[in-house]
Subunit: 121 residues, 2 copies
């Protein structure tokens, strides 16, 4: 990962595929990822790690058991490890994620929505 | 750390002291901190960890040996572990930091600018 400043909106302008995260920076063994999302993801959980969501543009809803957390631009939420969640966005939203390298987007659920994280460079 | 959404600008509106970080969320053993900064901090380094700076408002300059990294709102930079750096801001800036819990703001330099991280709740 190059030692360079990252402009989040400039990087997001390059994104074409929704739900395709790209790692743009690393903090020790954690990755900072960007993604554009729209529609419903799948219910899943990460048994071994918390997962930070920060909304850059738009609105993201994180459905949790029994409640929804709605995040607008400039708002963040950390899904605790082991908690089932389903991210969704009615209109396209841009999000930043922070979690350990190797965290799989679909967590313990796996399946056809599982993707490899792209690397910026 | 409460299981709640965090609005970065709303939280920053409560800040009065510059260079006084407040932890607003945790991702495993990492802390997400906010701070308002103005003027020059001190040259220091963190021998054991990288340190992520994301600018929320204003402009932050991170002086490094031989060069400056200038970050505007929506831009981030990760100072690699062991690299001397001096954050500075001509006008007040608001920043988000991510690093392991227990990371000291003045790193190996210590001294009178060392502060305890406040906890949101």
């Amino acid at each position: 990962m190059a030692d360079a400043a990252r402009n989040l909106r400039e990087l997001l302008s390059r994104f074409t595929d929704q739900w395709q995260p790209m790692a743009i920076a690393a903090v020790n063994d954690y990755e900072v990822k960007l993604a554009k999302v729209q529609g419903d993801f799948i219910w899943h959980q990460h048994d071994d790690t918390d997962e930070l969501f920060l909304v850059i543009d738009g609105t993201l809803t994180i459905s949790l058991p029994g409640r929804d957390v709605e995040l607008r631009a400039g708002e963040l939420y950390v899904v605790p490890r082991g908690v089932q969640h389903c991210p969704r966005a009615q209109d396209e939203a841009a999000i930043l994620l922070i979690e350990p390298k190797g965290t799989v987007n679909t967590g313990e659920a796996a399946g056809p929505r599982t993707t490899t994280v792209l690397q910026l460079d």
